[in-house]
Amino acid sequence: MLLKTLNKEARKSENILNALLEYQKSKDTNYISEEELAQLAEELGITESRAYSIITFYSLFSTKPRGKYIIQVCNDVPCYVNGSTNILEELEDYLEIRVGGTTHDGVFSLERTSCLGCCNMSPAIRIGEKIYGNLTKDDVPRIISEYRRKYYEEV
């Protein structure tokens, strides 16, 4: 069983999306593999193709392994006109990866996201579940090393 709290409720169609999200969140690699998906579909009582259509449609899902912390950079107009491209470039340089990539140690993945609804503190990024706003290039190394330290302390 992959889904811990599977009961009749989770098989209700209005709970499928949440069940899949929860499962993905429970993994350090932040993704759902093909084999897992087949099993999840069976547990949820839906076809594999429907499960696949769900996880490839929504951008919070991934079918490829990702880092423990996902860095989402907003690049829509309100952030863009306040210099989000600089933040994105600085993150790429500092992490030595491109958008869509994962660092060698598997700690970070860098993604572009649609508007985070934090336009009052643009440019903004989201790491895991935390929002960082009003960023300048100089903030990037401090934030990243904080997460890296936290990761290695836990390991």
Partner: protein
């Protein structure tokens, strides 16, 4: 002195503790719910109709009429969905309401559900709003403990409960049928209309879908009366609305403004102007799917009728200011990258249109476009507006269409002028 901002529905924001229901009750919260069950559903619907409240999510459909549709339906069960899938770039007013005053929304949902005879509500909230999700979970739990949610609310015999439904990162799910598909556990692609959600929504049952701001406005209207609500605003747009001000302004944020305020007042009085003495290049209204207007037009007043007369739509109330350091075509490119990514791919005009627009735009930016490109661009934009399956594809061209109207020279500068080169040689 003229008042630029009011606090009819944002009065509690920043003053009460969103994690505490008692803090909300102390301000008179939930009193309306206690008193409402003595009233007829028709009375409540009439009061909302009288207030002239229109959907604040962008479409501007009269809220009272929508509730009445669901009320009149004989099919049960009926559902209520609070649309908190705020994904339109430049909008953050719903997040502001959710994070600061969650109980006002819950109260609004109870009132709307009682009026329409609904016993189950969903709050469809985007997965990225995890802070708001946490606040809502706590608020719903507290409301259940106090007996405002669940069976037999306040001894009235009325049952109603709310479930939070988290989205998973899809802009199109703000479209009502895509949202319903998503709640049904599928990829969020829109359905054909009609039938509309009010007659066949979730699991083909009558479904009332309203935006966070719309539902949050209802407690005020029922508590204070429609007359008080309509005492602000203009003859053609009553009450207040929330504006999300962002981009190149000194003070960014959410402001509750009376209808009738001008875009200039929003930018310069509430937003304190443009940083470093720069000038406005353009202002985008409503969000990525909204119109771009030049600085000469910012005396436009926030009013449904006035917008309509100018061929504009108000959308969800975003005001994005772009200063003169930026290139119009570059900004438009950013917007089209967004739509190309967010198109769900169901219908051809939107799936292919966004891609082609972006390609053509790139030629204008590289200054290698031809006259033909300009006419092709206009033709694609019109086809998308006319034939796209849902609001996403119909509204995606708005920014470029309005830019072609107000900033046409920017496009003309991108056309490769062969004769000029020849003349130079």
């Amino acid at each position: 002195m003229k008042k630029y901002s009011l606090d009819l529905i944002t009065g509690n924001c920043g003053k009460i503790d969103p994690y505490s229901i008692d803090s909300y009750i102390e301000t008179g919260g939930y009193d309306t719910v206690r008193n409402i069950f003595a009233q007829d559903c028709e009375n409540i619907i009439n009061e909302i109709k009288k207030s002239d409240l229109r959907g604040r999510g962008g479409a501007g459909f009269p809220t009272g009429t929508k509730i009445e549709f669901v009320y009149k339906s004989d099919i049960t069960p009926k559902f209520l969905v609070c649309n908190a899938d705020e994904g339109e770039p430049g909008n953050f007013k719903d997040r502001f309401l959710l994070e600061n005053d969650p109980h006002q929304l819950i109260e609004g949902m109870i009132i709307a559900s009682y009026a329409a005879g609904i016993s189950k509500g969903f709050i469809y909230i985007r997965g990225e709003y995890n802070k708001a999700i946490g606040i809502l979970e706590k608020a719903i739990e507290q409301a259940r403990q106090k007996g405002f949610l669940g069976k037999n609310i306040c001894g009235s015999g009325f049952d109603f409960d709310i479930e939070i439904y988290s989205g998973a990162g899809a802009y199109v799910c703000g479209e009502e049928f895509a949202l319903i598909e998503s709640i049904e556990g599928k990829a969020g692609r829109p359905r054909n209309k009609p039938p509309y959600p009010v007659s066949a929504g979730i699991f083909n049952k009558p479904t009332l879908i309203n935006n966070v701001e719309t539902l949050s406005t209802i407690p005020f209207i029922i508590r204070e009366g429609a007359e008080k609500y309509t005492s602000v605003g203009t003859p053609t747009s009553k009450g207040t609305r929330l504006v999300s001000l962002s981009g190149n302004v000194n003070r960014r944020g959410v402001f509750e403004v009376p209808f009738g305020i001008s875009i200039r007042e929003i930018i310069f009085n509430l937003g304190k102007g443009i940083p470093h003495g720069r000038r406005i290049k353009m202002v985008q209204l409503g969000g990525a799917s909204g119109p771009c207007i030049p600085p000469e037009m910012i005396d436009l007043r926030l009013d449904y009728k006035e917008f309509e007369n100018n061929g504009l739509s108000m959308g969800a109330g975003a005001v994005i200011v772009i200063d003169d350091r930026h290139d119009i075509l570059d900004i438009l490119r950013n917007i089209m990258v967004f739509f190309r990514h967010e198109s769900c791919g169901k219908c051809t005009p939107c799936r292919e249109g966004n891609r082609h627009i972006l390609n053509i735009l790139d030629r204008f930016i590289a200054k290698t476009a031809t006259e033909k490109d300009l006419s092709t661009l206009e033709s694609i934009l019109n086809v998308m507006t006319d034939t796209s399956f849902c609001g996403l594809g119909q509204a995606a061209p708005t920014a470029i269409l309005t830019a072609l109207k107000y900033f046409r020279y920017e496009f003309l500068l991108g056309i490769y002028k062969e004769y000029e080169i020849k003349n130079a040689v």
